[in-house]
Amino acid sequence: MMPDTTSDTDGRPPASNWDATRASTALALLATAITVGLLAVTLGVTVVKGLAASVTGALCFAVVLWLLTWDRWQVSATVAASALVVPAGAAVAAGVGYVLLVEFATSFPASTSTRVVGQSLRILSVAMVTVGTTAAVFGVAAVPRNFVTRDSLEDGFQLVSRTAILPIAFAALTLGYALVSNFGSGLEGPAGDFFDTFVSGLTDWFLATDSSSKPRLLSFWLVGTVSVWALSRALTALPTRELTAGRSVGDIDAEVVWRRLESGSSNLAAAGFVGLPLVFLLEIGVPDSTVRETLPGLVYDALVALTGLTSLRYVLLAIAVLAGVSVAATRLLRSSVQTDARTVLTGYAPFLGGLGIVAAVLAIHGPILDALIDFVAGRLTSPLSGNFRGLAGRVEEFYGSHAIVLGLTAGVLVVAATAVLALWLVFSLGFVRDRVSGPSIASGGLFVAVAFAGTLQIPFSVVLVGLLLSLFVWDAGEFGVALGREIGRRATTRQVELLHAGGVLSVGLLAALSTGLLASVLGGSAGGSQLSVALPGAVVAIVLLVMALR
């Protein structure tokens, strides 16, 4: 982080002095790399490809959070972070998705129903190995600078959600437009008929475009009230008071006129909202014949003409839309003026990033979608592949490639935001502390990955080494963080770090050797059913012993 490079004027060490110490950090990084490498080599090429993508995404996510901690170049860093969100999310999604796809393709169709459960568990294991490894790389990347905290995750969530707003809006617009423009030919059957009827009915109701000869009082009242209310809000929000102060047209004081206009429109809108339930009751409770009989003929005809005037509805709706835009623009400008430029730019930077993502997608959506379809179809077996290509072709024809890629991008952003939110929840619930976030995530991720890898028939020695190293990552990382916080990087700490690491590794090696020996002895002598009963009992006994010791 940038402020670390300079010291304060009081001569105190820079903030980076209190980061995790170098030797322990290096050991944690090395242990993580060895474990990930072991898993990749053991689990095969498929997992390696998926892991490569998801690990790249994890590193991108780490860079995003690191960029958010910059104090200098904050605007540029925020824009860069926004631009990195999609590659990060896409890489993780692609990595996990690829592994799941390949495992799914090789596991199904299953021959028996029993195998379905087994294959499902296998797919779950592979997915968890990928997710765990991804989390581990993300966590270990944060160890040297400890930038993954609850606050930075809050900032990260804000960034991702703000970045996602424009892609989601564009995706919704393009997908909605495609839906509306194609629903006649695209949606068949009762659902299509219902949708058609609903949309046309709503349009007719609001714009009074049907051929009814009755007064359309409720829709007219609603449109009029909303229009007047929006107008009153716009008059209040716009700087009309400042502009009209002291001005007059002839003998008329402009300020007084504007004030009356403001209060008049506000009162009218209030009356409209108050009267809305009455008009609703009148519309549904009083038959048209009664209204016709009660009102004089001329008044009734005028009411029908007025409430059925489509052009007037358009005018009212245009006023409402313009007023709404004015209010939004005025508020935006006011808040921007009252806030310093850096805060404003930092606040808008994610939107700029989102706009850049939309522009990039609109520029290269065709090749992206083709590559994506070819990639997925290429991983599936022949009947599934054909079906997928057919389905993908129909969907592309209906929505258009730009809408689909925008939708996928928006989906990736939503997934990314959800992942950040989930991580934030983990921090908020106290499972991970800010101080040791990096080692905790790295070690936890590695442990989960190795544990699930242990269900995939890999050599037991690899499982033991993986478990040992994942625990070592926690120990070395936490030790480095605590030592850095207490003693700092300026002091010489390497000897004590290496001694501690050696001691902990020795304990782990002894335990791993003992465990391996026990496994080989039990595996050779005991039967399966006896083992399944004896082992949980032994483990529970040891847990109770440890608790008693503590």
Binding site: D8, T9, D10, G11, R12, P13, L121, S443, G444, F447, V448, A451, F452, G454, T455, F460, V463, L464, L467, L468, L471, W474, D475, E478, A482, L483, E486, I487, G488, R490, A491, T492, T493, Q495, V496, L499, H500, G503, V504, V507, G508, L510, A511, A512, S514, T515, L518, A519, L522, G528, S532, L535, P536, V539, I542, V543, L545, V546, L549, R550
Partner: protein, 451 residues
């Protein structure tokens, strides 16, 4: 003793393995659960040794001048019988001192009888600085238990930086010629100046008898009038001079005051009638006169030395008052930059400058001690040149090259030194990295050789 729950997560890890082993019917995972549990067991069984350590602290040099670097050395010895695998120590550096090199913290392992050394350097500041006892933390190898305590060190615990003013800064000061100063006006003296017509009352010894023999007219010989040597030391301690050359070092006002104090004492010690004034003392100080200027006259009565002491104390107090203010606390003291790093210049008012010029005795040699961080010293030098006063500018270099801003500030200061020289002043540039004695030596040589 504190128990650290470092391996609590290992419990969860073991339970995860058991759960997975049962879910997947995988006995190997059940056995693997023993691995994390082993760490929990070892952590629970680990015990802290009875620690016994001795610490000795030394300062080098033990009597530094302000801004000098002082090396603090801590020698730690394990006097117990057990090895300390994880021994951490933090020395109690006083808040007002800053560590400029090394670290007062250390972590190492200590075998029985083994000793290790921690050494670091602090920038000295005036006064007595009490170091608190080092804090020591011992942890087990697995880090599951720790014990924190303080150890009373042997050796030194107070860093005194009060050398100074009573010491003769320059050994040769007394070797310089001292006494009276020739002036341009004729009168009593040794060196011939002019002759004039005899006036009744002229001493007979000054009659030019040869001319009388030749011309028969009585003529009186005049010599260069000689007066007692006078100097006035002007200390520039205005708030905006309170910037530091480097983090942790004394600021410009402190350095100027210190240099002025030693120079004043040296001049007095060399029998030069020396006056004293200071800028930036504040109006409420005891020594401030009616014109708002603190003043100790060069030829005052027996209270001169006392008044000088009072004035220096007042300058130091005003600096300390500024440190106490939250807006200009010592910890946030700016490094010299020309772009707002230093507070806005609170220049000396014209009235104050005029009062100062009016106070200066005729022919007094003025010594201005200032870090030259604004234009006032140069304009003051010009005023002195027009009033025919000799000027010596002694300037501590608090604006040093570093960041681009500091480099610009240093260039500005160099230009001001140059401008001061162009007015006829003698300048002495004191690099605060060098001992003050060198700068004082040059200053005194300039001052006394002119006498």
């Amino acid at each position: 003793m504190t128990q650290v729950g470092r391996w609590n997560g290992a419990f969860a890890a073991a339970l995860l393995l058991v759960a997975l082993g049962l879910l997947y019917a995988e006995p190997r995972l059940l056995i693997a659960a023993l691995l994390p549990l082993a760490y929990v067991v070892v952590g629970a069984l680990a015990r802290l040794p009875d620690a016994s350590v001795s610490v000795e602290r030394t300062f080098e040099p033990d009597d530094p001048a302000p801004s000098d670097g002082v090396t603090v050395t801590l020698e730690v010895e394990n006097t117990g019988e057990r090895t300390l695998f994880d021994f951490r120590l933090i020395d109690g550096v006083p808040d007002e001192l800053r560590v400029v090199s090394g670290s007062p913290r250390g972590a190492f392992a200590l075998r029985p009888g083994e000793s290790r050394t921690i050494s670091y350097e602090v920038a000295a500041k005036r006064g007595d600085h009490e170091f608190s006892d080092p804090v020591v933390r011992i942890r087990t190898l697995t880090g599951t238990r720790s014990h924190t305590t303080t150890v009373e060190p042997t050796g030194e615990s107070t860093l005194s930086c009060s050398r100074a003013v009573t010491d003769a800064p320059v050994e040769r000061a007394s070797h310089f010629r001292v006494g009276t100063r020739p002036t341009e006006s004729g009168g009593e003296g040794v060196q011939f100046h002019s002759t004039r017509e005899y006036q009744p009352g002229d001493p007979i010894a000054r009659l030019d008898w040869r001319r009388y023999a030749k011309t028969g007219k009585l003529t009186t010989v005049q010599f260069h009038e000689e007066r007692a040597t006078q100097a006035v030391v002007v200390v520039d301690a205005r708030p905006h001079t309170r910037v530091v050359p480097k983090p942790g070092y004394p600021d410009g006002a402190e350095l100027s005051t210190y240099a002025a104090e030693r120079l004043y004492e040296a001049l007095v010690g060399a029998n030069v009638a020396t006056g004293l004034t200071a800028l930036g003392v504040g109006d409420d100080a005891e020594v401030v006169g009616a014109d708002g200027l603190p003043w100790v006259a060069p030829e005052g009565d027996t209270g001169t030395a006392v008044n000088a002491r009072l004035l220096f104390d007042a300058v130091r107090e005003s600096t300390a008052d500024d440190e106490a203010r939250p807006t200009a606390s010592a910890s946030k003291r700016p490094i010299a930059t020309p772009d707002g790093g230093a507070p806005r210049s609170d220049g000396v008012s014209e009235q104050t400058t005029e009062s100062l010029l009016a106070r200066l005795p005729r022919d007094a040699h003025v010594v201005l001690v200032s870090p030259l961080l604004d234009e006032w010293p140069v304009s003051f030098a010009r005023s002195l040149a027009t009033s025919d006063h000799d000027l010596l500018v002694l300037s501590p270099a608090v604006a040093q090259e570093g960041t681009p801003g500091q480099t610009v500030a240093a260039v500005h200061r160099d230009l001001r030194l140059w401008d001061a020289e162009l007015t006829g002043a003698t300048t002495v540039d004191w690099d605060v990295e060098d001992p003050l004695g060198l700068a004082l030596d040059r200053s005194l040589r300039t001052l006394l050789s002119n006498q």
